[in-house]
């Protein structure tokens, strides 16, 4: 079923939409008419731009028997989502002269993703607001595009090792009458590195700019030279807080490509872990957010209670952070009676605490003075900017994939969506804490009705050629995976769009005009995860490729301390 709004929006532009099954819609568009098509979609108010995927067709064409060493073109995919449906607009650009018009004039939220595309594929985006680099380091060699197939890891390593050493640039530039406060990449407010430049007039912020990429590990590129199984472990390490949901999104995509589906018991266990992960993530966030407001008592208490869930995750999987539950085709761990009882006891202990925190964030006057009416993000804007997760739900936009497009076992254990019309920081607290109750309820429901059966089915080592889109609801919002197989043992392309990247648009749009003291609160309000954003480029190697040697860790001239391992 192709939605009528889509057909009506795209028909006048002469675009034919085809249905590709599994709620996927596809359309081919040529580069010049792209902005027109996007405008038509926006005017029809159909969905939001979820991700932009660049695609080098080389390996695919080689598999199809093309003798050319490199494909003559790139594909750029614009994924628009609405509920369970994904409309993928495909634009083909020639490799010789890759130029695309920017759509950021129509959808301002697209600009971060366009910059990512342009830096990693070398596709020139015209009419884009001028910026420095977003993700790649400042001394990254010009003309080296990490996601192009011809730029193999070896080639990139060699190019980088030839680079002269450059000093990092000093203080930000200040125009007359402009006082810039740099926040990050090292700053007490940020637990992870990012760099904000806030121009202030007294205590009022007048301009803000964002620089990411300080913890790039090149995971998307690295996945292309690892097998499908190895890549599971790789994507688990994209984020330390939501490792499970990344792996879930990945294996769901792999299972789609392989045409298998995991047994019901495995799906239920995946769901169980996903909800336990949400509890741990939201409690962690609550502590961090309270600390930003200078409310360290709440910080300490919420982190103490978070230990309950961390211990449970540890008991069941042996790990606190990378529980590594998923394998393609199923899960590794079973839930037996003692574990099930332990989890239930944990939920019993947590729920009264969560209720207490809900009371604090809704009734503590000193805390409400820092959250009520701060960082207001009206519903219309939240909808059109494409923010996801609790950030969207706190603005009254019901965007929750567990409800809209139930995956794994959410069909059997339906989620009651939580949302709030407050649109401010206080609403984000309320939404996340209420979601904790919902997660506790789901965990109990799953334990009560855990299906019996196998834990996994076999998945072939070689995954059949094809492409799959896998979207799941991470604790921070919609997590988008695009997987492409050329029929080999390695993925041809893994594209990850994390919820944080979608939510930056909100921070950048509300920061101007706020008080300086509110900025850390607003940043943390989206629960940003920088290591999730930063996953795209290749590490700077010095000789050894995958590991850092002891010599590299010792600063030059420091000599070697006695007794250290060789």
């Amino acid at each position: 079923m192709i939605p009528e709004t889509v057909t009506r929006a795209l028909q006048p532009a002469g675009i034919r939409v085809i249905e590709a099954g599994d709620n996927n819609l596809k359309a081919d568009v040529d580069a010049p008419s792209l902005p027109r098509v996007v405008t038509a979609l926006k005017e029809a108010r159909w969905g939001y731009l979820s991700a932009i995927t660049g695609l080098d067709r080389t390996q695919l064409e080689a598999a199809a028997g093309d003798t050319e060493t490199l494909a003559r073109s790139f594909d750029v995919l614009y994924h628009f989502c609405r509920g369970a449906s994904v409309l993928t607009i495909r634009v083909t650009v020639p490799r010789e002269n890759p130029v695309l018009p920017s759509i950021s004039g129509v959808l301002p939220s697209a600009v971060l993703q366009e910059r990512e595309l342009s830096e990693t594929f070398g596709i020139e985006i015209t009419n884009m607001p001028a910026h420095g680099r977003l993700l790649l380091s400042d001394d990254w060699p010009a003309g080296l595009y990490p996601m192009r197939k011809e730029h193999t890891p070896d080639f990139i390593h060699q190019k980088i090792s030839e680079l002269p050493h450059t000093e990092p640039s000093a203080l930000p530039e200040e125009g007359p009458g402009k006082f810039v406060i740099p926040i990050g990449p090292q700053h007490p407010a940020l637990k992870e590195p990012a760099h904000f430049e806030l121009a202030v007039d007294g205590e009022i912020v007048t301009d803000v700019s964002l620089r990411l990429g300080y913890v790039h590990r090149g995971i998307e590129k690295a996945a292309e030279s690892r097998t499908w199984i190895q890549s599971v472990y790789l994507v688990e390490r994209i984020c330390g807080i939501c490792s499970h949901i990344h792996a879930t999104a990945f294996v769901l995509g792999v299972e789609k490509l392989a045409g298998v589906s995991a047994p019901p018991r495995a799906q239920a266990i995946r769901t169980l872990f996903a909800e336990m992960e949400r509890i741990h993530s939201h409690l962690l966030w609550l502590g961090v957010a309270a600390h930003q407001a200078g409310f360290d008592t709440l910080f300490m208490f919420s982190w103490r209670d978070r230990e309950t869930i961390m211990d449970l995750l540890d008991q069941v999987s042996g790990n606190r952070v990378n529980y590594s539950v998923n394998v393609p085709g199923g899960v590794k761990y079973d839930i037996d009676q003692p574990r099930s009882d332990a989890i239930r006891r944990g939920m019993d202990a947590l729920e009264p605490r969560i209720y207490h925190y809900l009371e604090i964030v809704t009734r503590d006057e000193s805390f409400l003075r820092r959250t009520r009416g701060v960082g207001v993000f009206p519903r219309d804007q939240a909808d059109s900017l494409g923010v996801v997760g609790p950030t969207a739900r706190a603005s009254g936009v019901l965007r929750d994939l567990r409800v809209e497009s139930p995956y794994i076992a959410y069909g059997d254990f339906p989620v009651r969506p939580v949302y709030d019309d407050g649109c401010d920081l206080a609403a984000r607290f309320v939404v996340r804490i209420k979601e904790l109750f919902e997660s506790c309820r789901l965990v109990r429901a799953i334990l009560d009705a855990l299906p019996s059966g196998d834990l996994r089915v076999d998945v072939p080592r070689r995954i059949p050629e094809g492409e799959a889109i896998s979207r799941v609801e991470a604790p921070r919002g919609e997590l988008f995976y695009y997987l492409r197989s050329a029929g080999g043992i390695n993925p041809d392309r893994v594209k990850v769009r994390t919820p944080s990247l979608a939510n930056w648009a909100y921070v950048l749009s509300v920061a101007v005009g706020l008080k300086l003291a509110d900025i850390p609160m607003v940043i943390v309000g989206i629960d940003p995860c920088f290591s999730c954003n930063d996953r795209m480029t290749v590490l700077r190697p010095d000789g050894s490729r995958e590991s850092v040697s002891w010599e590299q860790l010792v600063p030059p001239g420091a000599g070697r301390a006695g007794g250290c391992p060789e």
């Binding site: 406060i181 407010a189 360290d296 503590d364 000193s366 003291a517």
Partner: protein
């Protein structure tokens, strides 16, 4: 003999050594109490001393672009002012070492030197966090200083004296002034917390926004002096408020019990609230604090003129 007495007064008791040891002990008590309120273990008893010694032996880095003299001397001046204030208050429940008519005003100004020095120290560097911190510290100074002074004037007006020793004596013979002047007590205690930039009045050094505020560039000895000065101010401030509002300090036991009770309250207040934004702090002090302090003082003066016994 009298020269020796002066030396002992300033260097050993009640000034100097005694104040330093006492203030480190109170810092420990403060940190431990807050830690326990927050469900943490908290420091060991010698941690404040260890911190101080560690900072003192560290290299002191003077950043580029500062006035070197100011940078080095400001912490010393701040520490000296705090130490000097100690000799005018009934330390350890004994009579103040020095006393003259009007010493209550002198003490208030000595206690203010700390914030002034921190503000100047922040404005002296070209660090952005320091400058914002200095602006906030001085903004906050202007907001709590007047109400704090008004709150200390209440007991002075009632006792008819401007000498701390006499006010302390008057307080011992009469009903505790926390009962007769509850508003003044509240304003004085919160004013002290504002002076010391304790949570929730810690916007000038809000670490999640401006790192360490005005002291961001300080390290080693300078930082040690500022920290020690703040501890001493807490110690002296608690003594002053206890002697004015909690029925005076007649002996060391009373001193210990009353100041520690006050410390317990301030530690509780520190762990109860989220940080106030600087605009909220200023609003709170001028809209509420100053009005309360002034109102209380006017009532006292009116009653005093009318001859009502207080």
């Amino acid at each position: 003999m009298s020269v020796l007495l002066v030396i002992v007064t300033y260097l050993i008791f009640p000034g100097g050594l005694f104040v330093i040891v006492g203030s480190l002990a109170y810092e420990y008590a403060d940190r431990k109490l807050i830690a326990r309120f927050q469900n943490r273990v908290g420091p060991r008893w010698f941690q404040p001393l260890a911190d101080l010694v560690k900072l003192l032996v560290k290299e002191e880095i003077v950043p580029a672009g500062v006035n070197r003299g100011l940078f080095i001397w400001l912490p010393a001046v701040a520490l000296a002012a705090a130490l000097a204030a100690a000799v005018y208050v009934p330390m350890a429940g004994l009579a103040p070492a020095w006393s003259f008519p009007g010493d209550v005003v002198c003490t208030v100004y000595l206690l203010m030197m700390m914030t002034l020095c921190i503000g100047l120290a922040g404005a002296n560097t070209s660090d952005r966090f320091s400058i914002i911190g200095a602006v906030r510290a001085l903004t906050q100074l202007f907001s709590y200083e007047a109400p704090f002074l008004l709150a200390l004037l209440g007991p002075a007006v009632v006792s008819g004296s401007w000498r701390i020793a006499q006010i302390n004596g008057y307080a011992q013979d009469h009903l505790w002034m926390i009962v007769t002047q509850p508003l003044g007590f509240l304003v004085a205690l919160l004013g002290l917390m504002g002076k010391l930039e304790l949570s929730p009045f810690d916007a000038p050094e809000a670490e999640t926004e401006i790192v360490s505020g005005a002291l961001t560039e300080y390290s080693g000895r300078g930082l040690a002096f500022f920290r020690l000065g703040r501890d001493i101010e807490l110690f002296v401030g608690l003594t002053l408020i206890a002697s004015f509002y909690l029925g005076g300090l007649a002996n060391p036991l009373q001193f210990l019990v009353k100041t520690l009770a006050l410390l317990f309250v301030t530690a509780g207040l520190q762990s109860l609230f989220a940080r106030l934004r600087i605009d909220q702090t200023v609003g709170l002090w001028w809209r509420i604090g100053a009005i309360l302090g002034l109102g209380q003082l006017l009532i006292l003066i009116a009653l005093k003129t009318a001859g009502v016994p207080l």
